[in-house]
């Protein structure tokens, strides 16, 4: 285990050290101490390493991650795992707004609650939230899966494309063009796999599936009021 004290090392050197790890590095386990809510921790990583951040983080922790597993032992500030490509980000506490925004791949697990705009414009990332999510989540979400074990806030999935949304609790309101859809066996399979990988004990049968009604894909004057 390599330990980096952020206060002693500084952010640029910390990120440069982690970014310099190659695919076959033998230094696979890293721990960051004295995070103290700092911004842009462990961003742009591109190696199969395991990084644990002790404490809560500020803006954009784990942004643009490829391959790495990043664990936050605390809560995450805005934009955690933004534009993640692959790998895993696991947050023990809560996540602030736009967690996993624009993510292309990988798995984001939030053990607490996520606030507004979770998974906004997601493009293939899988997000599993053990608690609740805030308003405008999965806005314009294009692909990937958003799993919510608790409740969803207002305007879930507004202007949704082809991302799948699974919610176990209540949905305060659905956004434009987002509808409840039939849960078929293949969806239960996807959900079971995601819950397993996130280490969350929940029954796929208790969830409802939401997706796009595909009415806003092309301009139709009859839909003008929905824009």
């Amino acid at each position: 285990m390599q330990t980096i004290d952020l206060e002693a090392t500084g952010l640029r050197d910390l990120n440069a050290t982690l970014q310099a790890q190659s695919a076959d590095t033998n230094q696979t386990a890293w721990e960051i101490v004295n995070a103290k809510g700092s911004h842009a921790l462990a961003v742009g990583l591109d190696a199969p390493i395991d990084v644990t951040v002790k404490g809560s983080t500020g803006y954009y922790c784990g942004g643009m991650n490829k391959q790495a597993t990043i664990r936050i032992h605390g809560s995450a500030g805005p934009g955690v795992a933004e534009n993640m490509m692959s790998g895993t980000v696991i947050i023990e506490g809560d996540a602030s707004q736009y967690a996993g925004a624009t993510g292309h791949g990988g798995l984001l697990v939030i053990k607490g609650n996520a606030s507004s705009r979770c998974g906004i414009s997601m493009k293939g990332i899988d997000i599993v939230v053990q608690g609740n999510i805030g308003h405008m989540s999965a806005f314009m979400a294009q692909s990937g899966n958003l799993v919510v074990c608790g409740n969803a806030g207002d305007a879930l999935g507004d202007s949704l494309y082809e991302a799948r949304l699974f919610v176990r609790g209540t949905v305060k309101s659905l956004g434009a063009d987002c509808i409840e859809k039939e849960m078929r066996p293949e969806h239960l399979e996807i959900l079971r796999d995601l819950l397993d990988r996130a280490g969350i004990d929940a029954k796929p049968e208790e969830f409802k599936r939401y997706g796009s009604a595909r009415k806003l894909y092309n301009f139709d004057v009859d839909n003008a009021s929905a824009y």
């Binding site: 809510g37 404490g55 803006y59 805005p78 308003h135």
Partner: protein, 298 residues
């Protein structure tokens, strides 16, 4: 972008440290607002006296002999405590309005920062660390306080454009965000007799709360109605003589984190503003919900 910090103490033992804790929080928020900073601090009640905190661009000339001249003009004893560009004038509460009028002729260049039994507002242009050290905020004690670091968007970088804004006796407001209907609201408030001094959007927000409370609303109710009447982005933190409140607009894109322990309630625009508070590791930390009024009272 702006930074907000606030600390509402439940444990009296922390009161001597209030200024030092707030100064540390304020300086951490420097990169959210490096152009000006301010602080509202609720100190000890001055035995039936009230405080008038006044700022001057020429403190040497304006503050010399001020207490004596003002006391003579309004017929009472006035105590004076200078702090850099600000001075705190203490006098019987019923004389405050008269003193404000007298200042207009005695010292026309001075600006009233705040009035109240316990609240003093200090604000200036400059880096938060410089502003805090000019006023020696770290040495202040008190029951609660609110600080702001400003990155101006809606009006000029001036002392009067800095936060906190006073919304009435012992009431203050700080704001992160921008209001888009402040011009029409300013005209509407002027018709109601509520005058603003600057072109700043936040001052209109503060004046709006003053108006609502004048019409009989409690601060909590005034904050609730601000959700309907103010258009734009806002995270507001407000202080009263014995209370501390937070509200965010329904979109809630301006960040906010809160922490509560048996000793205090704390607010920060970001978590890193809270990291040096005692017992933060075990505090309940959460993000305040959109369009929800939070309020604590002593």
């Amino acid at each position: 972008m702006c930074g907000i910090v606030g600390l509402f103490l439940k444990d009296k033992a922390l009161e001597p440290q209030l200024g030092a804790l707030l100064t540390d929080m304020l300086i951490t928020m420097t990169d959210r607002g490096p152009d000006s900073a301010g602080i509202a601090i609720y100190g000890t009640d001055a035995d039936g006296n009230s405080k008038l905190t006044v700022q001057s661009p020429n403190p040497d000339a304006d503050f010399k002999g001020l207490a004596a001249e003002l006391g003579k003009a309004i017929g009472t004893k006035v105590a004076q405590r200078d702090k850099d560009t600000h001075t705190v004038l203490e006098m019987p509460a019923e004389k405050i309005a008269e003193a404000r009028e007298a200042l207009k002729t005695l010292r026309p260049d001075t600006r009233v920062m705040s009035t109240g039994d316990t609240m003093e507002i200090y604000k200036e242009v400059g880096l938060p660390k410089d502003v805090a050290s000019r006023f020696d905020v770290a040495k202040m004690s008190g029951t609660h306080g609110i600080g702001h670091t400003r990155m101006a968007t809606e009006s000029a970088v001036t002392t009067m454009g800095a936060h906190p804004f006073s919304t009435g006796s012992d009431q203050c407001l700080v704001h992160n965000g921008s209001l888009s209907n402040h011009n029409s609201l300013r005209r509407q408030l002027a018709r109601e007799g509520i005058l603003t001094e600057t072109m700043n959007d936040t001052e209109v927000g503060a004046a709006y709360l003053t108006w609502k409370m004048r019409e009989g609303a409690t601060l909590g109710e005034a904050l609730e109605s601000s959700l309907d009447d103010l258009d734009g982005f806002f995270t507001f933190v407000v202080g009263t003589k014995d209370g501390f409140g937070v509200v965010r607009d329904p979109i809630a894109c301006k960040p906010a984190v809160m922490a509560e322990t048996d000793q205090y309630v704390a607010f920060g625009s970001e978590y890193r503003a809270l990291v040096n508070l005692p017992g933060i590791e075990t505090a309940r930390v959460w993000e305040p919900e959109p369009a929800t009024v939070y309020f604590w009272n002593h």
